[in-house]
């Protein structure tokens, strides 16, 4: 008997030449690609080290403690040029966060309104929304920003000839002054009532809603929590001595307005441009989300006797949101990133402060690294938080 014949597995192994063996190919591809990428990075880094040495670049972050010595207009949080570079950077970050968070809220509201208008049965309203969307989607944001800033907000009249809008709102070269409620001395005590009311209302909402889901009995969670939300602050208003809120009307004193809420022309132009631009995109997101809901859903809901508002709130919206949320997240991120265009109209945001810091401190690499990392962190955080919400609403998928 010939026992020398190799076992089948050995034979197949033997037949496959080494250059066609899947495992060998895979491993070598692994090594080659790793070498290529590491080699590329090493080349870049070595070039960089030579250049850094030749120019005497400082790569440390020690400069962050040095005084910035440049002014920031309208810093929002207390700032003066004697503060450090690091603190100036934070001021820039706060200004970016402020304009993007207000922008996101306003753009969502405006975008939803326009998106719904686009779906209106009224032909004129629907066309009007279409015109708005087409205009804002096809013009670069920078052009819109320039239109809002240079011919409009940068040429507002001097304070003495301020334009007065109902409210009253005063528009002048010094900024836009809104009439705005402000806290008096007892305001702090009252704001605690407001917070407590809000907290209790939210807890009530959750508890009663859970109970309804468990037992199937009507718990009127919406109405009850709304009542709490109104009643507790009202109680506070009566209990707190004096008037906790006061309408703060801007008034002319000397060469400028005092009181009220002030937006600088740069902030106003940036905010309006960001909001109107992003709203055009959000409107399309909302429209396509609503249209993605099967028409039969609406008919069925009407047939079982739900009112029109109930159909929208309970049937259409929950389903549309699933489609709407993911692209909406990317619009929010776009708005935050686009706010860096502020540089071009002189609103000193994160990127703008970073550029001044580069010029003043001469630390290109560290400042640049910090700026990129901050934007990246903002983007990743926003999408992380919103993705959690997104996963929760997507969970209902059958």
């Amino acid at each position: 008997m010939n026992l020398e014949t190799p076992s089948p597995s050995r034979r197949t192994l033997g037949e496959v030449p080494i250059w066609r063996d899947e495992r060998v190919l895979r491993a070598s591809a692994q090594i080659v690609s790793a070498l290529a990428i590491i080699g590329f990075i090493a080349w870049v880094v070595s070039n960089f080290r030579i250049a850094a040495e030749a120019r005497g670049l400082d790569l440390t972050f020690r400069f962050l403690k040095l005084p910035a010595a440049f002014p920031i207009s309208d810093p929002i949080i207390p700032y003066d040029p004697s503060r450090s570079f690091g603190y100036a950077f934070i001021v820039g970050l706060v200004k970016t966060l402020l304009v993007s968070s207000i922008g996101i809220v306003l753009a969502t509201i405006l975008g939803t309104i326009i998106g719904l208008a686009r779906l209106s049965t009224n032909w004129l309203i629907s066309r009007l929304a279409l015109i708005y969307i087409e205009i804002h989607r096809n013009i670069p944001l920078l052009v819109l920003l320039f239109i809002w800033y240079f011919p409009i907000f940068s040429t507002l009249p001097p304070v003495s000839e301020a334009i007065i809008l109902p409210g009253p709102i005063y528009l002048s070269a010094r900024g836009i002054y809104f009439t705005w409620p402000a806290f008096t001395e007892s305001g702090r005590a009252w704001s605690i009532y407001v917070l407590v009311g809000l907290l209790v209302a939210i807890i009530t909402w959750i508890v009663l809603r859970r109970r309804r889901e468990r037992t199937g009995k009507a718990t009127y969670f919406g109405g009850v929590s709304l009542l709490i939300l109104i009643f507790v602050p009202l109680l506070g208003w009566i209990l707190v001595p004096g008037n906790p809120l006061q309408i703060n009307t801007p008034y002319l004193e000397g060469f400028n307005f005092q009181g009220g809420l002030r937006f600088t022309p740069e902030f106003a132009a940036l905010l309006i441009a960001l909001v109107t631009y992003t709203a055009g995109f959000i409107a399309e997101v909302v429209r396509s989300g609503m249209q993605a809901v099967n028409r039969g859903q609406l008919d069925a809901a009407r047939a079982v006797g739900l009112s029109y508002m109930q159909v929208i709130a309970l049937v259409i919206m929950p389903q549309a949101l699933r489609v709407i949320i993911p692209p909406l997240i990317s619009q929010f991120l776009n708005l935050t990133k686009n706010s860096s265009l502020a540089l071009l109209i002189g609103y000193q945001d994160l990127f703008s402060v970073a550029r001044i810091t580069i010029n003043q401190a001469g630390r290109v690499i560290p400042v640049f690294f910090m700026t990129m990392a901050t934007y990246l962190f903002l983007s990743l955080m926003t999408s992380f938080v919103l993705n959690i919400y997104n996963r929760r609403i997507q969970f209902v998928e059958r």
Partner: protein, 402 residues
């Protein structure tokens, strides 16, 4: 028994009065809304017309047509730009002939664009009758290129090669020229400007980004951890930061990461920034396209004995690219709009020219509204045309219908 045919006429379209009642006044609040809209709309439209035709002073716009088109490009060398556009027009026409409906809207837009440009009612020494004729020639080149489809020698792959050769010729030879050459004297890119630079940056950015995007998209799906990690980090970083920071990085910092002796042209640095930015987004689109390729395709290819490289190159990629062509056009449009940002690097693209013209004459400072609204109009028209063509292309491709 046959059905009585005379009763089966198509329903007639409703008359205008019925249409108005149904679309504008179908209930009380719609009626109020419609009336209000008409009322306000009338005032807004008349105010706009009044401003455009009576109040606005269009001098900063109509006096500098060539500046808006090509910037400071030497006027005696304009024939090079004409030659470039002629090549593009001819190739557009030929592509239309070969690929038919897919390219038709783009080709017709190109032809119409030059036709309208040639007939613009503006006064300019450089827009002489001869130059207008050269511009108008583009329209005939598009149509002529289309007529060439009768020759069967012309195949898709030759046209594709023609595009690549023409693109390289235009960007590397015709426009920049050579130092010391009498026929093609060197023209520094600092003199290029206007719509020419806008289109070069957008077109160059999208074209160069496609090969990079293919590597990134494949790399992100790769089983090799180093490759995958590199691609993921690259894509997510680029998508997470504003374009303006990337452009800034390539204008200032890139020099530090390259060998000391190399000097990169400013326009070229901007182009690298645009390309890498666009590549990250295109890679994500392409990844969607790759995921959409049916697994059966890959299994079938394996069954007939193809290896991974062949499968990717011949089976998966063509289908994936076909699926993302509309997204690529969309990416091109947004890149076209994003080119405005390079003005922060001191490159005079279209918007930069507008700004430069405003700053050139103290009288124009108060005419900023006219300039920027004109800019908005130009961008709006061009990107609307591209969006429209892209929708036609999508319909012609029938993505998702096969």
């Amino acid at each position: 028994m046959t059905a009585p045919v005379e009763n089966l006429t198509a329903p007639t379209s409703p008359g205008p009065i019925v249409w108005i009642r149904r679309n504008l006044f179908n209930n009380w609040y719609n009626s109020i809304l419609s009336l209000l809209t008409l009322f306000i709309g009338y005032f807004v439209v008349t105010a706009i017309f009044n401003w455009v035709f009576n109040i606005a002073d269009w001098r900063p716009v109509v006096n500098f047509p060539i500046l808006y088109l090509v910037g400071q490009f030497p006027r005696d060398q304009l024939w090079r730009v004409f030659l470039s556009t002629a090549m593009v027009s001819l190739l557009m026409g030929m592509s239309w002939g070969i690929w038919g409906k897919l390219v038709r809207p783009f080709a017709l837009s190109v032809g119409a664009f030059f036709g309208i440009l040639a007939l613009l009612p503006v006064q300019s020494e450089i827009l002489s009758p001869a130059n207008r004729a050269l511009l108008f020639l583009n329209l005939f080149l598009v149509l002529g290129g289309f007529a060439l489809r009768r020759f069967e020698v012309l195949r898709g792959r030759y046209i594709a090669i023609g595009w690549i050769v023409a693109g390289l010729l235009i960007v590397l030879v015709i426009l920049p020229g050579f130092r010391g050459s009498a026929f093609l004297p060197e023209i520094s890119t600092t003199l290029w400007g206007g719509l020419l630079v806008t289109l070069l940056l957008a077109g160059g950015g999208i074209t160069l980004s496609i090969p990079i995007a293919i590597f990134l998209a494949l790399g992100r799906r790769s089983s090799l951890p180093v490759v995958k990690g590199f691609c993921v980090v690259f894509i997510e970083t680029v998508r997470g930061v504003p374009l303006i920071t990337i452009l800034f990085m390539f204008s200032v910092i890139i020099q530090l990461f390259l060998p000391v002796e190399s000097r990169l042209d400013r326009l070229f640095r901007a182009l690298i920034g645009m390309t890498l930015f666009s590549a990250a987004y295109t890679a994500e689109n392409l990844r969607g396209g790759l995921q959409a390729v049916a697994l059966g395709q890959i299994e079938a290819a394996k069954a007939v004995g193809m290896n991974n490289v062949l499968i990717t190159g011949l089976i998966v990629m063509p289908q994936a690219i076909r699926a993302v062509i509309p997204a690529l056009v969309g990416q091109f449009i947004s890149l076209f709009k994003d080119t405005t940002l390079v003005l922060i690097l001191g490159i005079n693209e279209l918007l930069g020219i507008g700004k430069a013209i405003i700053n050139s004459d103290p009288e124009f400072i108060r005419l900023q509204a006219e300039v920027y609204i004109f800019m908005a109009g130009v961008y709006w028209i061009l990107s609307s045309i591209m969006s429209y063509s892209s929708r036609q292309l999508e319909a012609a491709l029938g993505v998702g219908e096969r």
